[in-house]
């Protein structure tokens, strides 16, 4: 999930939507970071070491930002949103640790991944620890509705990961199946992160549902744009490597569409490079050429724009204000990254 990365680099260029969002909730965000540091402590030295490696190393706290801004937009100004935002970040971090083990990733945010440094077993168990911590924080918060939302999201994330495992290196994955994968691996936590904002503010169900729809569709759009950027020169211009997904044999929408639109020779190419993961240096260039020929990067962005439009409309029931504006700007920013 390189989402955070992309955002970070874009932000470094200054003055974008996430920057404004971060400033808007900066006091809360300081509190979130304190809670994260505090609750990742343990007498078992390896836990804060490993957790610190991945948590402190970066990430723009996008999901916690969504919780904080959603709560604010719903009129909440108390301390609970920071605790729940920390929960959301713990769940996110736990899934990153487990993902890297499953994907056998060597790098995370440009540094050696935890599984490489401390081994798979430690990564799995520290992931479980962070996951448990998230639930402890939720229990402390004491809202059964929050527990229901975040435990539900966790189950969907796990389902999404299993589905991804089942479809991995399978070039015949359907777009519909892939959408289910990204609903699980990315969008469900975005949805829950936003939804709990309405819960702490004690707002009616209709606002919970609106924020769920907003987060879910923002998450889908986000992941699709990320999928497109992985093959885009734009990524390179931002100083990031192109083709990480390709080298890992990941099946994403630009590939799915290229496979569907390609001829027999092209499909053999995708099978060799992504199913068997037999690649040489020229193959990435060839992959990008095929995507351009069939317009699959452009169309992946167009698909993302559809989900972005749903997200934007979902906020319609909330009164105008700086938080709402900032959340809509995050959608625009997300889609614009792809153009």
């Amino acid at each position: 999930m390189a989402v955070i990365f992309n955002l970070e680099s874009e932000r470094d260029k200054g003055g974008d939507a996430l920057d404004r969002l971060t400033k808007m909730v900066s006091a809360d965000l300081v509190r979130v970071n304190q809670l994260i540091l505090q609750h990742m402590q343990s007498d078992v030295q390896l836990i804060p070491q490993l957790a610190g490696h991945i948590i402190a190393a970066g990430g723009k706290r996008l999901r916690p930002l969504l919780t904080l801004a959603s709560a604010r937009m719903c009129g909440y100004h108390g301390p609970r949103s920071a605790g729940l935002a920390a929960c959301v970040e713990f769940i996110h971090t736990a899934t990153l640790l487990h993902d890297d083990v499953v994907d056998e990733s060597a790098l995370r945010r440009g540094e050696a991944s935890a599984n490489v440094v401390w081994g798979n077993k430690a990564s799995v168990l520290v992931g479980d620890f962070l996951f448990s911590r998230a639930f402890q924080l939720m229990v402390q918060d004491g809202s059964l509705r929050v527990l229901e939302i975040l435990s539900g999201a966790s189950a969907i994330i796990a389902e999404g990961e299993v589905l991804q495992l089942m479809t991995s290196n399978d070039t015949t994955t359907t777009e519909q199946a892939y959408l289910e994968v990204i609903k699980g691996k990315t969008a469900a936590l975005f949805a829950a992160a936003c939804e709990v904002g309405a819960v702490v503010a004690d707002r009616p169900k209709v606002e919970e549902h609106a924020l769920n729809t907003f987060g879910l569709n923002l998450g889908i759009a986000f992941q699709l744009i990320d999928d497109a950027l992985d093959y885009s020169a734009k990524q390179e211009a931002l100083g990031k490597t192109v083709g990480d997904d390709f080298r890992e044999g990941k099946i994403t929408l630009p590939v799915i569409l290229a496979y569907l639109r390609g001829d027999a020779t092209e499909r053999a190419f995708w099978q060799r490079t992504l199913e068997k993961v037999e690649q040489d240096d020229a193959d990435l260039r060839q992959a990008i050429q095929l995507m351009e020929r069939h317009g699959t990067l452009k169309d992946t962005v167009a698909r993302a724009a559809h989900y972005g439009a749903i997200a934007r409309d979902a906020l319609g029931i909330f009164p105008e204000g700086p938080e709402k504006r900032a959340l809509i700007d995050v959608v625009d920013f997300c889609i614009d990254r792809g153009f």
Copy 2:
């Protein structure tokens, strides 16, 4: 579900995609109609009377056409697809009968609906009869996979209907919740109708999945276009009434978006007309004006185009040929109706 209706009138203008599809599988379709007439018989006179009223009265057999064309595209030329197409039509008809009871509809395809002529109880029970007949036909066919697909679709349809009941007259229904409703009430049976085509042809899972994705997304697109047409002058030009959904207080995407994009006065209007269903003659005109002001009909069509694009791409794995061409033309036709 006025889908069939729209298609009919468009077809009457001659030479469209559905016409070509119908001609392509005309021999099979004759067999489907024979099976339908044969299996709706019963010693209980009321059953063929009532069933005949709704089945014979019209409908363009769109769902059976999808089954027949999908099977053909998968290389199947035997007799089983006609039987399964009849199953699909029975399931569809059963849901229409039950829908009319639930919605308290007085008209179906321009004629008095069965519940008005024979009463609610008879409509519910004949619906159950047709539903059971569908399962008998499936059991005769003998494929457990087909039973699995069609019983699964039936469950989703029922879930969708319950969800629709829960969201009916609720102007705050989210777009996400509405998508779940139409996946259930329309798209699930489209998906199953197409998917069984691959099963009778004994094709690999990947083709089943592709046809499921095709049917599901075609079904969503279809329903969304239908929702838009109900408020469109195009509908009037075709000699059909405009505003049926409005008069019934139905919550569809053009309304959901207009509510989300509207101000407090406009929301009060939607609540009065669709929640309380207090309407006078000028209200429909006002509703259409609000939709035009906020571009919600145009955007409903744009949303539909997204699902249409997914449906088209889903057929990518099938070799070119007349059936594939005809199925893609059905998607184009469906979307074009909305422009």
